[in-house]
Symmetry: C4
Subunit: 277 residues, 4 copies
């Protein structure tokens, strides 16, 4: 029988790397998934940039965002974003918090982010705007206290994406693959809306279109097709996580781990060269 | 004697990958070609992202978009776009449907896309705008019914490109290579028009310039030169399709199919991994 | 003694590839250099995309743009741009004609391109605007007749860059390296001017600053430093041209010439690898 | 015991390459660090593009920007920027001067650069604007005289970033890693501010938010996490500097130095190649 938890950890590492590789995440941002066997827990990597996450970096947390096993590594200070949303939204199976360039103009202006094309309908009819000044006053804008996470979860409500003033966005999904799809296409929707506004007038899709187009990612072939595409792009760039953990090595700085990096990368050319002969 | 059909399937796979590699297509969009020996049929890949298409993924359809052989794989739900255009336009030999970022601002604002530079004249004097709301009301914006495809084909009329409200564009060509040229330069034309409008006033080329510059891609050296360029760029990135089919393997998801991926670019890694053991 | 002509052909191939790699040129555009031993001749590649140029692709022309040896390959139809400028400007040793995205907004709006930062001063105080409609009326916008080339050369006058309405730009230099520097930084200047105009008011540098900053690329270390940078970037991407010609192979399409491509990109690394054994 | 100076030289080379790789620096710009054992000296590379810097390229200067050992190589003409700031700001341990595209629109318009998101608060509440015309009149805009450097240092005052009219920016840090963080996120802040202004109104964070969010990069995990991310990205592209110097070889042009280049990027492949034999 397959080790569901191990598969989930691997898929979470891949989801982190895909969102890094596609430009939704950079040095910051994080992606979590609800525990496949215990809805009262969630899986989230240790504090590390998403594109570098390995299955061995993934920790287990209670919905109060307490580590199940006392960790020897640094944890994300904003993990309450994940825990409080899993608490408030039993239907949510995966969460992504990001600062993608595509959404920042909306986060800093407060201009509404509305769905403007069929795939962008995945953000839903409304994207609420959460402002940490309301209720918390001046902060460093990070969401680190349980009450801050709970407030953000309330702002998210039954929606799929919430913008965070001067900070970024948080996206939820019914699965890791839906989450990755929604995170990427909500960014493209934001870019098209920004660009469209620069050359003309842009309104939202009709309510009927939003409802119907918002369900496109439930067409069976869509998540399969998009995941194959993003995972293959990542794999061709040598970005897939190792199957077996390498935490020890991973703890060291990159320049001290040639072999890890050597496992990924350009060897392919070498082989092609030989095939050509 | 050369196997024309096999050559066409290979060129169609390359055209799909070039348009993915050059940024016209992403996880979505599709490219087809009329059957080289039977004008009553067309070739279109199974439902898969364009940059991953292999000759073995290519299926044969009647102009009613019915598969000639009952497929065991998922088909593109929007294949009627291709079938209905081949039906209405005997002169069209290749069709590309895309959602390129370059055209989206025009698709969501309704601002006219006009030719603004010599190579952009390939879009012709007029780019019609098709709105699914006219005649079909609220939909998920996908073109899946024969009557929707026929309506789009009527909107295209005798033109070369048609914009689709809130969705994307469909481009046609007298050959696969003209189609690739037109798809890429219509996107560049859209980008230059958008950028130009942000700093000043932009009108179209004169009717005479549109007619004459629109024929540049018929200068014999042009399709040769552009195809060599785009194909070499693709090849240098390890993006060329395999010569022999790999459908069976290709059916599996990427993370579970080292061998298929191995046949494409990154093969090396897998092989290397094994050799290293 | 070094073979000056062979060195010049190699450097011209590298210049073509650098300008392709850095995004000034794409499938189109061309770069030439005056013959190192005969000022009455110039060297220009056969009709091929700049990033693919090999020394063996380079042909010799008189200033009337007639090939010195009847070529068996396709020539650029716009070579008169080069010949007529070399005729009119004895001080010009290298010419680049391009359609870089950075300048197109100016070519289609007629907005003035002025130097806005120190390195951008390389374009000089004035960038004339040439309009083919004046004197030639409707054309396909390509500059193919000697009189069209002569008219463009007159518009260029004593300046360093000339914008061509709805088409692109032509840049000149006192050497290939100055030309590459000016082509790249004139594009950056155009980008900064465009972006600056979107958020505020932008005027030109003062006349004194233009004169002094325009001479920065004559500081001995500057052309050395920039050329090393751009050439190394190209080399690391496997983009350096082969030392020995490969015309025969090069004539075939890319998909039918694994060996040529092998000689370019990956093979080069191989050679280096061997050297290091 | 570790060789602190050697480690610092290596880290400075990596910092130069990271800022080149992440797009803050191109052919120009430079990064320095105060001497780890002698606060009266600083380390700065010879005149070379940042992405190519090797430990052996790094020279030692007094705070008057005089080389401690008469160099046989070209020095940056703008080194006084570094020396004068180290003189005026004992708290500054690292300095970066750049012309990043992100800040140029502000440098050429004079529009204020203010912190608009949490990570952007690293620029502080105020970014002064230095104008060489004040006090120096027309120049080539380079900062080469001690008095020009001293004037710039006075303009910087107690701040973290200073914009230079028509030229670029200079950033300071309490360590190389803080400098790299600040250089990258000040550019992202500039991009978001520019983009935000194009679609709506944007003001600065509140003073309280600037103070608190400006300290985020002092959270212990942050510099570790960001440095690992940027260094790994660089390493995966074959961009890490060699551990041992190669100045002699490095003096030659790239096309004439296969071994230097082989020691950089492609070397990794070689190793793999060997493993696979």
């Amino acid at each position: 029988m397959p080790d569901t938890l191990a598969e989930t950890r691997h898929e979470l590492a891949v989801a982190n790397r895909i969102l890094g590789h596609e430009g939704v995440l950079d040095a910051f941002g994080h992606v979590s998934v609800r525990h496949p066997e215990d809805p009262g827990r969630y899986l989230l990597p240790r504090s590390r940039s998403p594109e570098l996450i390995e299955p061995a970096d993934i920790l287990e947390f209670t919905l109060d965002s307490a580590p199940v096993v006392p960790p020897t590594v640094q944890m994300y200070s904003e993990r309450v974003i994940h825990g409080e949303i899993y608490k408030a939204r039993p239907d949510v199976m995966a969460v992504c918090h990001h600062h993608a360039p595509a959404v920042m103009p909306f986060c800093i202006t407060g201009e509404p982010l509305v769905p403007v094309f069929h795939l962008g309908a995945t953000i839903g009819a409304e994207v609420p705007f959460w402002d940490s000044l309301d209720g918390f006053g001046d902060t460093n804008l990070l969401v680190v206290k349980p009450e801050e996470g709970a407030s953000l979860a309330r702002a998210l409500g039954r929606h799929s994406v919430v913008l965070m003033r001067r900070h970024g966005a948080t996206v939820v999904g019914a699965s890791l693959r839906e989450l990755v799809f929604r995170s990427i296409y909500s960014c493209l929707n934001a870019v098209y809306l920004s660009e469209g506004r620069k050359i003309g007038k842009v309104g939202a899709l009709t309510p009927g279109e939003i409802a119907m187009a918002g369900a496109i990612n439930q067409i069976p072939s869509v998540p399969l097709r998009t995941w194959e595409y993003w995972a293959t792009r990542l794999e061709k760039r040598g970005g897939m996580p190792p199957r077996r953990g390498t935490t020890a090595a991973a703890r060291k700085g990159p320049s001290s781990r040639p072999t890890t990096v050597a496992k990924r990368g350009p060897a392919g050319r070498k082989v092609k060269g030989r095939r050509r002969r």
